[in-house]
């Protein structure tokens, strides 16, 4: 009979209609955003942020500009600090990330040899002016290491273990090690090692 398939289809919509009342947990799949928010996965990546240990001027970044050359849309801009005599210090004076151009691909986090730049979980960052507000300066980028531990515990443990292993290896060799001018190309592996634990 002509209308049979149509009826079957309408029963499906009727069932979904009733399901939203009988069993809202399963029936409704939308979330009332401002009041309730969906939990983020640990590895969720939004725009990058810089990490400091303890106080903001103890910034971990050594201005080696690897992430600047590695970033596909070229949205990171670094000027290293210079002390009185003009010698380049291992601290960035200016570290801007243009949030308008950054496409949160996460490559900077992977290639950073000093674990100083990570992807954030903060996604409510809309601003009114694209030119000034979205060109985020160094001060705005800085976040404590504990913040990273809070948002991504798994990665935090893995990086801590790796840093502990590295510092243990560096201590017995020769404590007065000459600070290498330019970090060589192949420091420790980025995020995943050859035999990574279950990340």
């Amino acid at each position: 009979m002509f209308g049979w398939g149509v009826l079957k289809g309408m029963l499906v919509t009727l069932w979904n209609f009733l399901l939203t009342y009988l069993w809202p947990k399963k029936g409704i799949f939308t979330v009332q955003y401002p009041e309730k928010k969906l939990p983020l996965a640990q590895r969720y990546r939004n725009f990058p942020f810089l990490v400091y240990d303890g106080t903001p001027h103890m910034i971990r970044c050594v201005a080696c500009k690897i992430c600047e050359s590695e970033c596909p849309p070229k949205c990171i801009y670094i000027i290293p600090e210079k002390d009185a005599e003009g010698r380049v210090q291992k601290k960035p004076a200016v570290f801007d990330i243009d949030y308008a151009i950054c496409m949160n691909c996460g490559l900077c986090e992977e290639v950073c040899p000093f674990d100083s730049i990570f992807m954030d979980h903060e996604y409510e960052i809309s601003k009114y002016n694209r030119a000034e507000d979205l060109m985020v300066r160094k001060e705005a980028l800085l976040k404590p290491w504990e913040y990273f531990a809070k948002i991504r515990p798994h990665d935090f443990e893995r990086i801590e273990a790796k840093r502990a292993a590295k510092s243990a290896k560096a201590k017995p060799v020769a404590p007065a090690e000459k600070p290498s001018q330019k970090p060589d190309a192949g420091p420790t592996s980025p995020q995943q090692g050859s035999v990574p634990k279950n990340g």
Binding site: M1, F2, V6, G9, M10, V12, T13, L14, N16, F17, L19, T20, Y21, G27, I28, F29, T30, Q32
Partner: protein, 384 residues
């Protein structure tokens, strides 16, 4: 007590008129009596329309596993008012080479037909605005007026999409008007009167026409033609969003667009009201609830079915739409008149048998003649 609740509106109107009668001459009372029922209709219709848009968005939402508007007021009850204000404040764009006069006139004219038509619907026991003895014919006659206004809108906005929409609306309205009128003929034949109040009288005491064999199918055909008349899914060709952007009201914005919207929803309410009056026994229902409540409930259920259609069914193509009207509905309604005549003439046991035979014969005939169009089941083969 139940009697007073049932007649509460009629009594209120009479007492109000008696009050007025003291101070005003009696010929003005005559005028005021008519004006009151008109005023009530003009006030109730837009409110019903607004809360039908709210109902549609909530039910569609629930069908699609989401809530539907719930931000403006509790359960989104103030949403229609917010929409109304939005429509009022929206800028009203008129295309440059549009035909100014007709472009302005079309939304005005399109709202007249649905409002006029409400005058004839029996909302409750002797709660009918104008009890014409040609009530039903009045309904069908005036509802043809909408086609012209719709076409004025699409012709005046000088836009290819609205022209396509206008042409489609024309073809659809004309070809679905005839089966609609013909499907109503058996009801007139059985009640031998055109006045809607008389039709409801004939169905009092659960003797609704939908339970009779010919009435059930006639109600189905009438309801589907009503859906087509009102341009709702699955017959919403004239304003097919996915093909011709917004059909005849592409070039309208602001309050004019709201008027087109209002016309569509009030005529949905009117068509469901008429379907209830003709086949579902109008305001007839068990006495413990007032008569106007029963009319409202049945119309509400029919509107829900129309919204349910909108949430589920894809839309027809133009030639299938025409084919459906001319090759399926028209022959069926013609045969249905004959079957209804059989039902009216033969005594009780024989007429049911005769009707069922008649209906099965006509349905199988339709099935045979339309088998070229009916889609077939498909086979698929697997390769690896």
């Amino acid at each position: 007590m139940a009697e007073t609740i049932d007649q509460i509106f009629v009594l209120a109107k009479d007492r109000f008129l008696d009050l007025l009668g003291i101070v005003l001459p009696d010929w003005i009372i005559l005028l005021v009596r008519i004006l009151i029922s008109i005023a009530v209709l003009l006030a109730v219709a837009p409110v019903v329309m607004m809360y039908m848009t709210w109902l549609e968005r909530k039910v569609l939402g629930r069908i699609q596993n989401r809530y539907g508007p719930n931000r403006v007021g509790i359960f989104g009850l103030l949403q229609p008012i917010a929409d109304g204000i939005k429509m009022l404040t929206k800028e009203d764009i008129v295309p440059k080479n549009a035909d100014q006069v007709i472009h302005f006139l079309a939304p005005v004219v399109i709202v007249i037909a649905p409002l006029l038509v409400l005058a004839v619907l029996p909302f409750g026991r002797n709660m009918i605005a104008a009890d014409l003895n040609v009530g039903l014919l009045f309904f069908l006659g005036v509802s043809t007026f909408g086609v012209i206004a719709l076409f004025m809108g699409s012709w005046a906005s000088r836009n290819k999409y609205s022209l396509l929409g206008g042409m489609r609306a024309f073809a659809q309205m004309i070809s679905y008007e005839i089966p609609m009128v013909l499907s109503v003929v058996p009801v007139i034949l059985v009640t031998s009167s055109l006045s809607t109040a008389a039709i409801v009288e004939a169905q009092l005491g659960w003797k609704w026409f939908i339970f009779t064999p010919w009435g059930g199918f006639a109600a189905l055909v009438f309801f589907l033609c009503g859906v087509a008349e009102v341009n709702r899914t699955p017959f919403d060709l004239p304003e097919a969003e996915s093909e011709i952007v917004a059909g005849f009201h592409t070039e309208y914005s602001g309050m004019k667009f709201a008027l087109f919207y209002m016309a569509e929803f009030i005529s949905t309410f009117a068509i469901s009201g008429l379907a209830v009056t003709l086949f579902l026994g109008g305001w007839d229902g068990p006495a413990f609830l007032p008569s106007w409540f029963w009319f409202g409930l049945k119309t509400f259920i029919l509107i829900l079915i129309m919204i349910w259609f909108r949430g589920t069914l894809p839309r027809f193509r133009v030639d299938q739409l025409m084919g459906f009207a001319w090759k399926v509905f028209l022959p069926f309604t013609l045969a249905n008149i004959f079957i209804a005549a059989l039902w009216a003439l033969l005594p009780y046991p024989k007429n049911f048998i005769a009707d069922t035979i008649g209906i099965t014969v006509i349905l199988t005939l339709l099935q045979i003649f339309n088998r070229k169009e009916t889609p077939k089941k498909r086979k698929y083969l697997y390769a690896n």
